[in-house]
């Protein structure tokens, strides 16, 4: 009981650990995926940042450029930032530094976006001015020729210097040139021109120079600021923080996973060792039990052998006794030598189921013309049946004694009633305290050859008879038994009288023949089959008929054992 509890407890702990392991690995898997996504976002941000840098450089370098490429990168980066900010982990205090770094990057990027927006404005203005000033300078100088002023040479020099300085300034991002531009603006501005055309060109030139003077330092400053924005640096740092924080976290998780797996391994190992030891112990117990059982078997076999020997001895003794009893029973059955005197032909089948039986028959000659035949089927069979037959024999002797002395009539009905009374009296069946409830079924036939009559009374035992040229008939008798506690002591049995005018065959049988089980359906033999044998073979010699009755009985019985004692008597009058 205790060992079962231990196993259940171990399985419960293992199940719990397995659930923990599953949840843990699920969380770990989720975390790894999350890390991958997060890392992908960082790489995307880095990539878009680099693309933005490239496009920005192109904008700076090319005279004109498609600003969509820059705006598209900015839009993508903004989307990336929004996406990365939505990661759950950033709400975790453990990743506070990572969150701060991302927010810093966002802040830097917003700043950079604003700077780029402004730069695109200033860039356009500066580029246009840088592009226009040399063009206007040429137009201006051409117009000066027609104006013929003395300072043409100096102006030409100034205009050339402005054009070259613009290129130098633009390519070197040197704002020191601004002071020189201012000087030249003053010089050009101080000139007075007569024609409207020159005056207009002078105005446009001065305006563009003013644009350069005002916007170029802003242009340079913005470039530097954009260059100095820490977005690239921040994203790099974010990546580092991510690796340090997330990887550290992952390492921790893996460490815990290892511990958990180790614990589970040792528990499983412990359970296996425990189970093996338990199985070994159980085996040893079983072996011992097996040995004990073998010893017990040996002892039992010896005892059985001894008892069998004893039983065989007892059985032999009993069998001997019964065999002897059978001799006694056979001795009380009437002899047959006088039958041939009374009957033209006859046969008797008396076949107890065991060595002795409950069936018995009596054939008693009253004189040369009168004969009484009795067929008795006592309660039970074997030894108890035999005892009853002895009792029946005693009463039968009294009846014949009384017949001899004329105390009773030669009435089969009265003879049955006599039996009934005497048996009940002998066995005290009239007393309510009586424990005996035995008796018999039977039939008594009285034959008077002189008067050519046959009287019959039956207690649940029929009489079959076949007169030459007529159908087989059956007299059922009464459906009452002789003896038994419930039988009526004063019951008067019917007495049938048959006039024998022609040779007639008579048959009496106990229920042992009729009730024998057999056939394909294991049904009783039955009166119908019994009658058909008579109808079929009545004209054959009775010795042959006996053989047929025995053969038909055995054939029908097949392998079934005989269920009851069998008595059949056939005779021809």
């Amino acid at each position: 009981m205790k060992s079962n509890t231990n196993i259940v407890l171990s399985i419960a702990i293992l199940t719990f650990l397995l659930i923990v392991l599953t949840l843990f690995t699920h969380k770990l898997e989720h975390e790894i995926k999350d890390n991958q996504s997060f890392l992908r976002e960082i790489f995307d941000i880095k990539q878009f940042s680099q693309e933005l840098e490239t496009e920005f450089l192109k904008t700076n370098f090319y005279l004109y450029h498609n600003y969509d490429t820059i705006q598209s990168n900015i839009k993508s980066l903004n989307s990336q930032i929004s996406r990365i900010k939505r990661f759950d982990r950033l709400n975790n205090k453990e990743f506070g530094e990572l969150k701060r770094s991302i927010l810093k990057f966002e802040k830097e990027f917003i700043r950079k976006e604003k700077l780029i927006d402004r730069f695109l404005t200033v860039n356009t203005t500066v580029k246009n001015a840088v592009n226009y000033i040399p063009n206007i300078a040429v137009q201006f100088f051409s117009a000066l020729d027609s104006d013929k002023i003395e300072r043409n040479r100096e102006l030409f020099h100034i205009l050339s210097q402005i054009s070259s300085m613009l290129l130098l300034a633009k390519n070197s991002l040197d704002i020191d040139f601004i002071s020189k531009f201012k000087e030249h603006r003053l010089t050009i501005g101080s000139c007075n021109f007569r024609t409207d055309e020159v005056q207009e060109l002078q105005k446009v030139l001065l305006l563009n120079l003013t644009v350069i003077i005002e916007q170029f330092p802003v242009y340079v400053e913005l470039l530097k600021e954009i260059e100095n924005t820490k977005s690239a640096e921040t994203i790099k740092k974010t990546k580092e923080i991510f690796f340090s924080s997330s990887m550290k976290k992952m390492q921790e998780r893996i460490w815990w996973l290892t511990i958990l797996l180790n614990v589970m391994f040792f528990i499983v190992l412990g359970v296996i060792v425990y189970l093996l030891l338990k199985v070994d112990k159980e085996n040893r117990n079983l072996k011992k039990l097996h040995q004990d059982i073998e010893k017990l078997n040996e002892s039992l076999e010896q005892k059985v052998f001894q008892r069998t020997e004893k039983l065989q001895e007892i059985n032999s003794h009993i069998t001997d006794s019964i065999q002897y009893a059978s001799l006694i029973q056979k001795a009380i059955i009437s002899e047959h030598h006088h039958l041939s005197k009374h009957f033209e032909d006859f046969f008797i089948i008396w076949n107890p189921r065991d060595i002795v039986g409950g069936d018995i028959y009596f054939i008693e000659e009253l004189n040369d013309n009168e004969l009484i035949v009795m067929v008795i089927d006592s309660t039970g069979h074997g030894v108890p049946g035999a005892f009853v037959t002895m009792l029946v024999k005693a009463v039968e002797r009294q009846i014949f004694s009384d017949l001899d002395r004329g105390k009773i009539d030669k009435s089969t009905s009265k003879m049955l009633s006599y039996f009934n009374r005497e048996i009940k009296n002998l066995l005290k069946q009239n007393s309510s305290k009586s424990k005996s409830n035995v008796g018999f079924d039977g039939a008594i036939v009285y034959i008077n050859r002189e008067e050519k009559i046959l009287k019959y009374s039956g207690a649940s035992t029929p009489l079959f008879y076949k007169e030459r040229g007529k159908d087989l008939k059956m007299l059922k008798g009464d459906k009452k038994s002789i003896g038994y506690r419930e039988s009526d002591e004063s019951f008067e049995f019917k007495e049938e009288v048959i006039k024998i005018e022609n040779p007639t065959d008579f048959y009496l049988t106990t229920d042992g023949y009729i009730d024998q089980l057999g056939g394909s359906k294991e049904f009783p033999f039955g009166k119908k089959r019994f009658k058909s044998i008579i109808e079929k073979y009545y004209d054959m010699p009775f010795s042959k008929q006996r053989e047929i009755f025995v053969t038909e009985f055995d054939a029908y019985r097949r392998s079934n054992s005989q269920v009851d004692d069998v008595t059949v008597i056939g005779f021809k009058v």
Binding site: N66, Y67, D117, T121, N128, L207
Partner: protein
């Protein structure tokens, strides 16, 4: 198959070209069911407080998606601050409104509906009115599978409709895609002048503008005199003085950033379909393309673009007119 190969070759050509302007895509993804609903909402007067204006009151879909008047009128006949920019191709702009205060179409739609001078509505009122209208309730239920009309879905539908308003296959786009004969000699010269004069510096990209903020009057300061042309007796335009107006300030970047250098700085308008979207400039003060070209050259480049050159540039600008959006054509417009 041949069509697909041709389109593929054209796309490759376009990708490989170094032109600072890129063609409008032939296909833009949008939800047609939502766009259909958006179309009704775009024309719905119930979306304004006094039920007198809808989106299409200012964005006339038959007039290049812009207004024909210099300044549009909002609820209670209040004149708005700026000339209405076109709604066509607006999804390609990097920001919305002249001062770029909306980062996308969604914010733009929300801003206009809430603007007290334009539609003067709020979320509750919009939902209240549309939920009382069985027509919209049914449409929203079919489209958004909701029995209640939500403000967010109203905006979403309008945005989906606006995404459908792209105008591909302009002659210039065909030129960019490799059909060199799509432009006449004059138009091609106009494009070259467009680059030489530096217009391209600001007007580049898919929308030929709409991707940066620039100062109006970079070289020669621009004065905001909105009636300087409409007061001209020769003008065919109605005198704006006939309408009540309550504001004269310009919605420039300065209104957003508060930085002095952002005064008179605006989002560069798109030049797509420009021949259809007169009057021009943020003030709506110029009636013709040529006037606009000269004016821009004067203020932003400091040059006077001559008549011949401006004609050529005008001819080029007219090649930027694309097809009427397919969705509108299919819808019976």
């Amino acid at each position: 198959m041949i069509k697909i190969i041709t389109i593929y070759i054209l796309i490759l050509t376009a990708l490989n070209s170094n032109e600072p302007i890129s063609p409008i895509p032939l296909k833009v993804d949008f939800d047609k069911e939502k766009a259909k609903l958006g179309y009704y909402l775009f024309n719905e007067l119930k979306l304004s407080r006094d039920k007198t204006v809808s989106c299409s009151t200012c964005h006339l879909l038959g007039a290049g998606g812009a207004d024909v008047t210099p300044k549009s009128f909002g609820i209670y006949r209040t004149k708005t601050a700026m000339n209405t920019p076109t709604v066509l191709n607006s999804m390609f702009n990097f920001r919305q409104f002249w001062n770029g205060r909306a980062k996308d179409l969604r914010q733009q739609a929300v801003d206009v509906i809430h603007n007290p001078r334009e539609m003067g509505m709020n979320v509750t009122l919009v939902e209240q009115r549309l939920n009382l209208d069985e027509f919209y309730k049914r449409l929203f239920k079919d489209t958004y599978k909701k029995s209640f009309v939500h403000f967010d879905d109203v905006i979403d539908a309008i945005v989906e409709f606006e995404k459908s308003l792209f105008t591909p296959n302009s002659r210039f786009d065909n030129y960019l895609r490799g059909y060199k004969e799509a432009l006449s000699k004059e138009e091609l010269e106009g494009y070259k002048l467009f680059k030489i004069f530096g217009c391209i510096m600001c007007h580049n990209g898919i929308n030929v503008g709409g991707n940066s903020y620039q100062k109006m009057g970079t070289v020669i300061p621009f004065t905001n005199d909105e009636n300087k042309h409409f007061n001209d007796n020769n003008s065919s335009r109605p005198n704006s003085g006939a309408y009540t107006t309550d504001m004269h300030h310009s919605e420039d970047r300065f209104q957003i950033t508060g930085k002095v250098y952002d005064k008179n700085v605006y989002k560069v308008p798109s030049l797509r379909n420009i021949e259809l979207t007169a009057p021009y400039l943020h003030t709506g003060e110029l009636l013709t393309l040529k006037e606009m070209i000269v004016d821009m050259g004067y203020h932003n480049l400091g040059v006077h673009i001559g008549d011949e050159d401006s004609s050529k540039i005008e001819a080029f600008l007219k090649t930027l007119t694309g097809e009427t959006p397919k969705f509108l054509r299919d819808f019976g417009n």
